[in-house]
Symmetry: C2
Subunit: 159 residues, 2 copies
């Protein structure tokens, strides 16, 4: 296995391991638990699930794999902080979105060659990428994995 393949595999393993443990945590929490705040005055579990699903829903656009499936999530879970929007999707709706967003990503990632991860991501210009070749699709994956870990560390407080 060449080193490019290895480094992409390392990043994909980290992504999938963190998605799997977060999915397991969410599946083990009741709707009532997810409606609680992770700490007094902080985000609710339901908001963090919607937020992660919304951010991950956009990944195909950044990687050039097609449009997001759930644009309706952005105003509530990316643009607005928690507890500022009255009507948000139910926990059970969000559980379904969570599943479909991550199944799509799993399938898309399986189809990508190792080389495809070293191409610039869609929000970079060619000129900027020439200056900094680390702004590639692999970096998007690595950054999203760390963002996921960050909120997973908060969701686990609901246990």
């Amino acid at each position: 296995m060449d080193h490019n393949t290895v480094s992409v595999k390392v990043a994909l393993n980290a992504w999938q391991t963190n998605i799997d443990r977060c999915t397991k945590l969410i599946n083990g929490l009741s709707d009532d638990q997810l409606l609680k705040e992770i700490a007094p005055g902080k985000n609710r579990g339901v908001y963090l699930i919607g937020h992660l699903a919304a951010i991950h829903d956009v990944i195909p656009e950044i990687l050039g794999l097609g449009r997001r499936a759930n644009p309706i999530l952005q105003p509530t879970f990316i643009d607005a902080p928690d507890k500022t929007i009255d009507k948000i999707p139910s926990v059970s709706e969000l559980r379904q979105v969570w599943t479909s967003v991550h199944e799509r990503l799993k399938n898309e990632f399986l189809k990508m060659t190792p080389e495809a991860w070293f191409v610039r991501h869609e929000s970079m210009s060619d000129a900027d990428f020439e200056k900094d070749p680390t702004r590639n699709k692999l970096a998007v994956l690595v950054n999203r994995t760390n963002h996921l870990s960050y909120h997973y560390g908060q969701l686990i407080l609901l246990k």
Copy 2:
């Protein structure tokens, strides 16, 4: 820049970005704030700083770069949960350990070639590594970065 160099740079950027933002957060919190629990009944900030410093102190051993500098941290911050050990280092001592552990790592990482990250880490046998070449030093760095993000997501609740 070849792809190996790029992928190592992506992982090192993620590590250093997360260390820097966590250091900034810790520097902005008072000793009193760090002695509080991140959520009712959960770990205190001081424990999480000690825990991250202890885990990062061990990284040179796993990467084959020499012995850890602060073995005294392990019993309190790795082997034992928070609030089970009466006498723990002061916040101000832990702030100093935090700085020295991360300066050492920064210097060591600068000296490593990209190729060095694709070698097996010290807790793997040659035979196991042959079976799974993703169990390399790069994977250790990626996993520690995610572990850091996880606890950073908790420490930020103290703000």
